[in-house]
Structure formats: structure tokens, C-alpha cells
Amino acid sequence: MHYVALKMLFGDRAKYLMLLCGLAFAVMLIVQQGSIFWGLMLWSQSGITNLNVDIWVADPNISQVEEVKPIATTAVERVRTVPGVEWAVPLFKGVYRVRLAGGDYHRISLVGLDAATLIGRPAKLQEGRIEDLRTPDAVVVDQGAVQRMGGPDVIKVGTVFEINDKRARVVAIANIQKDFQNIPSVYTTYERAVAYAPPERRMLSYVLAKAKAGEAVADVTQRIAAQTRLGAFTQEEFGWKTIVWVLKNTGIGINFGTTIVLGFLVGMAIAGQTFYLFTVENLKQYGALKAMGASTFALARMIILQAFTVGVIGYGVGVGLATLFGLLAAPSGQLPFSETWPLLGLVFVSLLGICSFSATISIIKLIKLEPAIVFRG
């Protein structure tokens, strides 16, 4: 009877296409919005992931990576004394303005790395050498700086600009994950970053640390927090802390969540209604099958097969369209887009929910169906 069920489904082309479009649209909307949402979340923690270190030490009341609460410079030594710590280096982070030669001002995120180790340096360079950061006035800018501060003719290796009236010279251009606030990043050494920044009593933003080989990162992190009374987080913890802060303090979660829920509801409404109509219009045929000896269970199986077949096809089409969108839109870097397997799995489960709902309301109609309906002209 599976063959009959599928022929019934594909035979009514108009309804089949309507069902397929409804489900594909719902899937595309959920996957596309979900991917953009997750892309944004990845952007929000790029300030952490771009540096890629085991442990972040900060003010105990810190909420997220961009909310810098300076700590005493002695914190670096205190972290180094904690058992299990292999190394600990200072990190400066702050938002300042640069003044280009032409007089334009631009906001930048200034990152000061430990000069000896350059720990936290960008993983990929588009142009130049990271070691040149140790030369006088040297800074490394990211590709965002090139795009936003005037283009490759203005910002290139050798370009000179000012940060707080102090000279800075571009020695390399880095490829890094875009920042949530979309502010260009400028890397330099810790000491030079402190010199660029207006003086404050405390200038150290973070201490970056690594656990010794054989030591669990989580254990060392806890030990640092207990011994120094500072906030200590693994990279993952700090990333999630930042994501949670963004969700709580911005409308992003609600906006995207609403769209995703709407996609789900629209998909469910279209699929449920169309599938129900499909069943109602075939009631006489189902009645005839029942009269011919098909059990309600067999007919229910036919309906389930129809619902899930169109569901799986709709899922494929929807994911395909969303992926195509991502492939076309994301490479420009203007749109955060991260289509992940867990998201696809979650959408598949949602789709199964939509299909189950559609099949259930149709099966309820079928259970109530009296085969005697076939005798009514």
C-alpha cells in the first residue's frame, strides 16, 4: 500500500507542490534565520575565539568580552604563581579612535599583545609578518579595517595613522573573525597599546593563561579563581557568558526567535491545512479502501508515509535554498551565517513535529470516517 500512498501524494500535483512549498519555505526560513542568528553569536564571541587561548582571567564581575573592567597589573604575576599554570601573559583591550592622514576618524578595537610571545595574535595574515609588530610604532590591522577605513588604497602595509595623537604604522593585515560590533581591530604590543590609551590607574584588561600539559583546563581555571579572587574562565565558558549577555541585553534573541517560531508556525499551518484538505478530498477514496478491507491502521500508515515523504523532500529543498543563500551572501562577510549540523538536526526534528501534526489531524479525521460514506452519491 506504500506504493498507492505515494502515487496518491504525487498524483495530486497541485496539492503536492503546495505542501512542498509550505514545508520548504518553513525549513528555509528556520535554517536561514537560525544560521544568521548563530553567525551573529559567533561574531559576538570573536573577541575571544580570535585569540584562541585556554584561560581568560578578568575582573570577577565581568559580563562579556567587550565590557573591559581593568585589573591591577600584578594580576599577571599572581596568575603565574597558581599551580598548573604553564604561562600567563597580559592583554590590553579597548575601543579608541584613529585619525587617518587625510583627517578622517574611525573607531577601532585596540588589542595589546604580550610583546615577547605575541600570544593572542591573529592566526592568519593576509599580508606582512607578525614579528614586525615588535618594530617601532607597528600595528597590525584586520581586513575589516581595510574595508571600513577607506579601502586597500588607504589602508595597506606602510600606512601611517594616529591613535590618540601617537604614530602607528601598519606592518601587516590579518584575516580574523569579524567582531560583533563590526569595529575594525588593530593589534599592537601590550606596552604600546598602554601608551596609546589615555592613562588610568589600572590598564590591564585581561590575563591570558595556559594550563600545563596533563592538567585539566577547568581545574586550573577554578584554581586561578580561588587563589587570585579574580574571574577566571575557560575560553568556552567566556564565550557562552558573552553569548548569554548578548541574548539578555539585546533584542537579537527575541527578534530571531520570533522569526524562527513564525517560520515553524507558518510551516505547520500551511502543511497542516493543506494535508488535511488533501485527506478530506480523498475521504471517499479512503472510505473505498476501508470498504475493500484496508484497516484504519493501514490507512494511517499511508497518511504517515505521505506526510513524512513530503516532509523529507521539503526539508531537502528548504535546506538547499538556505545553504545557497548562505553561499551567496556569506562570503562577502557582510552577513553572519553559520549553518551547523546541530541546527540542521534541530530543524529536522521541528519538521518531524510539523509532519506529525499534519498527519495526526488527518488520521483523526480518518478514524472517524465511516466506510459507509462510499455509498452516498
Partner: protein, 277 residues
């Protein structure tokens, strides 16, 4: 029955009352609704249909014909009375057993054909076999053979929408017969057809009803087909008000005489049908 007459041997059909009963209905009552809205549709029906007989069930609209047909088919439970089909007391069977019994022993022909529009003629005919778990290739093969018997060998791959009303009804008959049912239940099989096609369809059903292993019940309003039956039972206001022999010739002279189907029917009765005891 075999009789000898002047040294020759001839086979003649036994009279209806001598044949074993296919359907036996005694004192059947069926009501719908309750309280003030309760309507009794069948008010103590007594009726026998024998194997090898084609019984026409006639009567005014709302008289209870469809209800009686549904009860005999086991798709509507009766309130009171005895209802045996092929020796099996239907009211005593559970729903699932009734469905199985119906699938194994009965075939249905409907006024509106009720063919699945997405399936070809052959696939439609194969449906009862598929319901009973036969492999698709075998079922479709058997269906094609059955379509040939009803004169549609050249239409097996046509969709219902591409067939005329008469052809669709012949597909429906082939579908009803493909699982070799012993009781064929037809609800107004000619109502949606013109006179000529109606006669053709009844010609086929008449042929089916001649088999001593089968009984055919036809609900109809169409007096032009009365001569195809063996007997006519008249149902009015929930009562059988009369059972009499069908006329031997068409009641309306303008109607064409009974035409033969497009190809001669040789419907086999293999006795394969299983009847649960």
C-alpha cells in the same frame, strides 16, 4: 442440477430458493440518533439472497436501501436482528475481523466509481490485492487480466480522468472482482451513466451473477435495468414491502436490448476466497 430429457443431458440453474444462501437477514432493525431525534431506518428487515442470484434492491429515496447495503457489507452495525453473510454472523465479528472478512469475501461497485485518480486503471484494479499483501507486480498482472475480461485490455495504463464514465465503472467492476469475492455489492452502478453504458455495465454484472459461487446485490432506481435481475426486493420506509421475480424483458422498449460486454466474460471461480469460520 442435472436433468435427463429424452436421452439428452442438460444443465439447468436451480431456482433461487434451492440455492445456498449468500445473505440471510432476519428482523434487522437499525436506528440513528437518540431521544426525540431517533430515526429508525430499518424496521425489521427479512431478506435472503442466494448464491448464483442477482437481486435488485429498489425503493424510494430514504427508504433504507443504502443502510441495508451498508449493514450487509458489515460497515454499519445493526441494533437488532440476525445478519449472516456466507454463513458468518456479521454482528458477532469484531471490527477488525469484519474488515478482514469484508476484504476477503466482498466486492463493491459504487455510483461514483471511487477510483483513485492518481492510479492507472490496472493499478486501481490491483488495489484490493495490494491491501491483502500481494506483491505489486503480481497484483498488477492479475489486474490487467481482469481488465481484459471487462473489455478494457487497451486501457490498462489510462488514468481514470482519461476514461469515459462507462469505462470507469468497468474498471470499478474489475476492481470489485479481482480478489474473487463471493458477494458483489453494487450501489446505483448505472446512476452516473447514460442508458447504453448502464446496459453494458449491467450486462457484465448479470454475467457475474450467473456464477453459482457468487451473489450480486444491486441497489438501483433505474427501471431500465430491472430485467437484468433474478428478483427484485422493494424497500419502503424501512420495510421490505415485496419481493418478486424480475421481468424477463426490458420494461422500456426504447432502451436497447441487453448488449454483450466488449469481450465475452469468462470469470473464473476458483473458490480461493477464505471465509473465516
Amino acid at each position: 442440477m442435472t436433468v435427463e430429457d429424452k436421452g439428452t443431458t442438460a444443465t439447468v440453474e436451480p431456482a433461487a430458493e434451492e440455492r445456498p444462501p449468500a445473505v440471510r437477514v432476519r428482523g434487522v432493525i437499525k436506528s440513528f440518533g437518540s431521544g426525540d431525534t431517533k430515526t429508525t431506518v430499518l424496521k425489521g428487515i427479512d431478506l435472503d439472497v442466494s448464491l448464483g442470484e442477482l437481486l435488485l434492491l429498489v425503493g424510494e429515496s430514504g427508504g433504507g436501501k443504502t443502510t441495508l447495503l451498508s449493514a450487509i457489507a458489515g460497515i454499519l452495525d445493526v441494533d437488532e436482528g440476525q445478519l449472516d453473510v456466507l454463513g458468518v454472523p456479521l454482528p458477532l465479528l469484531s471490527g477488525a475481523k469484519k474488515t478482514k472478512f469484508r476484504g476477503q469475501t466482498m466486492g463493491f461497485v459504487y455510483q461514483q466509481f471511487n477510483l483513485l485518480p492518481a492510479l492507472t486503471a490496472a493499478e486501481n484494479v490491483a488495489v484490493p490485492l495490494l491491501i491483502h499483501g500481494r506483491p505489486r507486480t503480481e497484483a498488477v498482472q492479475k489486474a490487467r487480466a481482469m481488465l481484459e475480461k471487462v473489455g478494457l485490455a487497451d486501457r490498462t495504463e489510462f488514468l481514470p480522468a482519461n476514461l469515459s464514465g462507462g469505462q470507469q465503472q468497468r474498471v470499478a467492476i474489475a476492481r470489485a472482482l479481482v480478489s474473487e469475492p463471493r458477494l458483489l455489492i453494487c450501489d446505483e452502478p448505472t446512476a452516473a451513466l447514460d442508458g447504453e453504458n448502464g446496459q453494458k455495465i449491467m450486462g457484465i454484472l448479470r454475467e457475474v451473477g450467473r456464477s453459482p459461487e457468487r451473489a450480486v446485490i444491486v441497489v438501483t432506481h433505474d427501471s431500465r435495468i430491472f430485467h437484468f435481475g433474478d428478483r427484485i426486493a422493494e424497500l419502503t420506509d424501512g420495510h421490505i414491502v415485496g419481493i418478486h421475480d424480475a421481468p424477463k424483458a426490458p420494461l422500456h422498449p426504447t432502451v436497447l436490448a441487453e448488449p454483450a460486454p466488449a469481450k465475452p466474460l469468462h470469470l473464473e471461480d476458483t473458490g480461493e476466497s477464505e471465509v473465516p469460520s
